[in-house]
Symmetry: D2
């Protein structure tokens, strides 16, 4: 599909051999706006063809465009105005900064810069106006960092966003059952997870509790004022390949019935839908009526994994509503979410001289 | 191991071929007080040797005592003062009543009679005094019905019991991750559960929300006054063979720190421990300090599956405490729990003329 | 996608609510030649909309074309020249015969008629010439029965076919690790399969041992003379959702090296490829070089699940070669395989007056 | 259970923190002959209490005897006449030799020395006479190395042994489905194994093909003459925690019916049974008649995991017999098998001055 005369925007993937990096490679195949021009990884892999460097665990073969790319060390390169970072948080901080300083826009999945004062933490349907924070970053023209939230946070925030706007969230109790791919590779040992669940994921509860409030916060002078309600989280790992499930109980300022909430969520549309961004799902939130739904294996791939599904909306005996939220953690919750952020940045002209190569309603 | 001159109390199992029935068969092997004298099942199985009638799915072979017992239809029999019922709730109601009317004490795992006004719903460490309700039942001498709570409820109540007594529970948010054996046989299709979790178990949330309040309630004239706090539950099925995990957030009348709660739970002892009942765990509640614990595969078998384990006791951003509770759903949560109820009934002389054959501190 | 003026051939699915039936519904969505016109199921479901009758377990939503179809009882209907049968073998025999007698061409996944003297048992790349057997069937014009082999047999035969033609197979040792979906719904209980494998599948070994020989046999007067070599099979169920793996050891008449065999398989093309049938994979057999491949989760979906993958081709210490074969049991091994048989039948003009609505090289 | 005045033989475990090392710790709890006196691990762990050094993944708590032992570096120590080695084969070779040179008898699970000319490769029921090879080793008095075969090989050899003795094995086709614990920790990534099987285990097929022949070989001057029949193996990893399944097809010199083979296996007794060694199963081989058996979850724990179970003994269309063999890979196939070898060495007086502390028929 890659052609000579390709008018698409050349992009890079930082940390392209891990779980999220592989997913980015896969999703960029035939992307209408972006062309995968370069991949980076640790020094150990640098110099190898991508097909050799990656221990490919995606279903389906490595896209031909990517297979022969020679893996480069993770250093700024010319000719690539935007990179998607799937770097591990143990190294992402300074590396991503280096790219921004070199005048490249970094769309990052890593947690390092998420809570930075001038760093947008984006769920494009929920807080697209936060993108403008990037204008206040002190990087050379074209350079900057925008971030994709934690994989559990994205699904939760995408549902809380419209509810908060309409009814005012006052408290959020959330328990998650998270998929194995969320831990990356190697992640958990198979023997540990066999016939088992693990009721702890390091750092995850704090991310869910804090990132959610920044996303639902209000952009002002010099940063975001976070939303003021408490979020209490318990995160668990379960033996599922992909798909994070969140069990939530919500308290609102305005009384709201299950039916109202369901109708509001089902009809929700955001800026990405308006702009017709390539990776925008037609309906960001699918409300399911069967009591047994949503389920990871049945619903994680709705709208190519970019839609979130919600079920069992019902009264709670303590708060106002209970519901179940499912999202594809490596698509919507990571690689696909980052692509959508990148598309938004391009559509909103955050990269000087870079414009969508095709009309945005053409998906 | 069954010997001539066996002084043990002959008991029966109603519905002996299902998951809980099989577990009862296994646990009764070499029980110091009880001797398995008879097993019943549906008419389809009646007349067959138990080894043929049961599609045995327990690890290890069928106990020899049980293998050759001829399965009987589920009708009252002579010479058996007590039966353990693992009948399906679709048929248990009238069948169990028939046994009580025939002067037999029924210890039931079925849900049918649990909420009956004069029916004890017992977690022997928590509400042993409720056992006396049985005295008010209008069955012939020796006859009566006592019940074992739902498998999720038992683990939760065993932990809430001492906390409520000490600090006064005001609200309970609970999300469960429940094992496959809780659904009995055939239960879920393997294909449904493969690489999946299911966020719904029919009737389970209601049981958790209501039974807990009866167990923690106060016995008075003509029944139990249920505890008055709200319980909100979300129950999920996960691909684990045995072991229910409960993720809870608790609000108390009295402020309590994680350390206080942990110390209180770890030192808790109930009447079964005092009486030295054969199936009483030495410590009913094991408090674990590793953040990654409790886990079904590692901790479900603590004290032969009769102890509950609790971990991650910590502050909650909304209520007072969060914690994780694990219990073996077919041992403590069903078969073993029922045996303990039966032992308590014998120790408390609820069956005329029937006494423990050996001293109670001899386990 | 269904349009007025649709020139596609109307087809039906018999037994549309089961695992294979659901897969047929999914694969027929947007099929270039066939339009799903009717679905049948047991009387219990008849009269309901398909979306209600089917307990949908496919990933992704029910295709809109199918959701609103009213389920009919499994009886011949007018206006549908061809049906795909996913009926259970307990009822398929006479029901399928009824359709053939009504002048309808039945493409069946059921085992009942497979070994019939005049019944083609087809793997379209391997024995397309067997299709002509249908001409000898004594049904009214347009009526007939053609069959798709057992799900394990298809993958094995597709690989044995070209090897047998080139080198002459003399003996086949085969052990399978078969997916849960092969057992249909409900199939195995989740509790049985948890942390387990089961070394027995009723009737499966016989099918593998016998159907393979018919497929590789020679069509002659009055039927097929089966191939003459022995096949010895051991079939196992493993906890995998989709994808049957076969571990084979092969003895040949002509000595053949692993490299020769690999090259021969990798370049193999059959009549469906020549004809450009819509469901024909470009390369029916993918030869993989990584020792760890093929694996169900990574390779079952190659070419939309229609290609078979082969790995670890190496010398055997007893026979000539060992290798590992993987195929998607509900796509290539059932629903997709049946569609390919149906496409072949249409391309070969086995249905009077019915022709492909579009050129065959248009996929 | 450890008491002052304990007359048991002090033993050590080398590499005590891994999967097999942990299992050894667990099995040595309350061993009637051996007392766990010391544990070693890599330098990283040395100096820590065992309870801290081991990432304990066994069901049940760490035995108290072991929890407080301080982990030592893997160097010879005084006062311990015998050690069980669970060292990784990347380091085991010279380390084990060092212990032998220090006059300590090493019973090893590692593969390094297994094929050494003077090194016994023992399945105590099958080739106990090979133990005498150790007398020819050139280590100081008391020092020596005896080895436990590969985990898959043990189960296979224990069944082939009596069959070969009675009927003469001529060829062995074997396919395995091996448990996760066989890969140690961390072993496979959970994400790799989820909804998957992997048809390759590095080095495993060679071990199965070669070790089996040494075990069934004849001890002579200067070593063992291996058995002369071919073994062809295909090894697979499946998502099961413990329990290796082997699917075998066997050719014999003497014709043998399934019934004869079954009767012969079921009644088989070896020297460990005669001697009443503590870890000797009463019946080494359990022959099961249900077609669906053996299964890992149901049968791996037969006789505490020390017995092998065999099912589906039936004619093969190519060779003489097919059957299914199941063994617990970390008990019989590793830790328990090594203990039995150690017991045999003590009973056979291979350690000067060391004798069983209790009569051997006392289990």
């Amino acid at each position: 599909m890659s052609k000579k005369g390709d008018a698409r925007i050349p992009v890079g993937i930082l940390g392209a051999t891990g779980v999220v990096g592989q997913r980015l490679v896969r999703l960029l195949e035939d992307h209408p706006w972006f062309r995968l021009a370069t991949v980076t990884a640790s020094d150990r892999s640098a110099g190898l063809p991508y097909a050799e460097a990656a221990r490919w665990i995606q279903s389906g073969p490595i896209p031909e465009e990517a297979a022969d790319l020679v893996v480069r060390p993770t250093e700024p390169m010319a000719g690539v105005p935007m990179v998607f970072s799937a770097l591990d948080s143990s190294v992402a901080g300074p590396l991503e900064k280096g790219f921004a300083e070199a005048g490249i826009l970094v769309v990052s999945n890593a947690s390092n810069h998420r809570m930075g004062r001038q760093v947008p933490l984006l769920v494009p349907e929920v807080n697209p106006e936060h993108l403008d924070l990037v204008d206040g970053q002190e990087y050379p023209e074209g350079g900057g960092i925008i971030t994709n939230p934690n994989c559990s946070t994205i699904g939760l925030s995408l549902v809380l966003g419209p509810l908060h706007a309409a009814f005012g969230v006052e408290a959020v109790q959330v328990v998650t059952m998270q998929a194995l791919s969320g831990a990356g590779l190697p992640g958990h040992a198979a023997l540990e997870m066999q016939d088992n669940v693990i009721p702890f994921i390091p750092g995850e509860e704090e991310k869910l509790e804090e990132e959610t409030l920044k996303i639902l916060g209000v952009r002002g002078e010099g940063g975001v004022t976070p939303a003021a309600f408490p979020v209490s989280a318990q995160c668990n790992r379960v033996p599922v390949s992909d798909g994070h499930t969140a069990l939530v109980s919500l308290k609102f300022v305005e009384p709201v019935s299950p039916e109202e909430a369901a109708a509001h969520l089902a009809s929700f549309q955001g800026l990405p839908q308006e702009l017709g961004l390539p990776f925008a799902p037609r309906r960001p939130i699918h409300v399911l009526s069967d009591h047994r739904h949503p389920q990871p294996r049945l619903h994680r791939d709705l709208e190519e994994g970019m839609a979130v599904s919600v079920g069992r909306i019902r009264p709670c005996r303590i708060n106002d509503l209970r519901m179940v939220i499912l999202s594809h953690n490596t698509v919507r919750g990571a690689a696909g979410g980052a692509l959508l952020c990148g598309e938004l940045a391009v559509a909103e002209k955050k990269i000087p001289g870079v414009r969508p190569p095709v009309p945005t309603d053409d998906r």
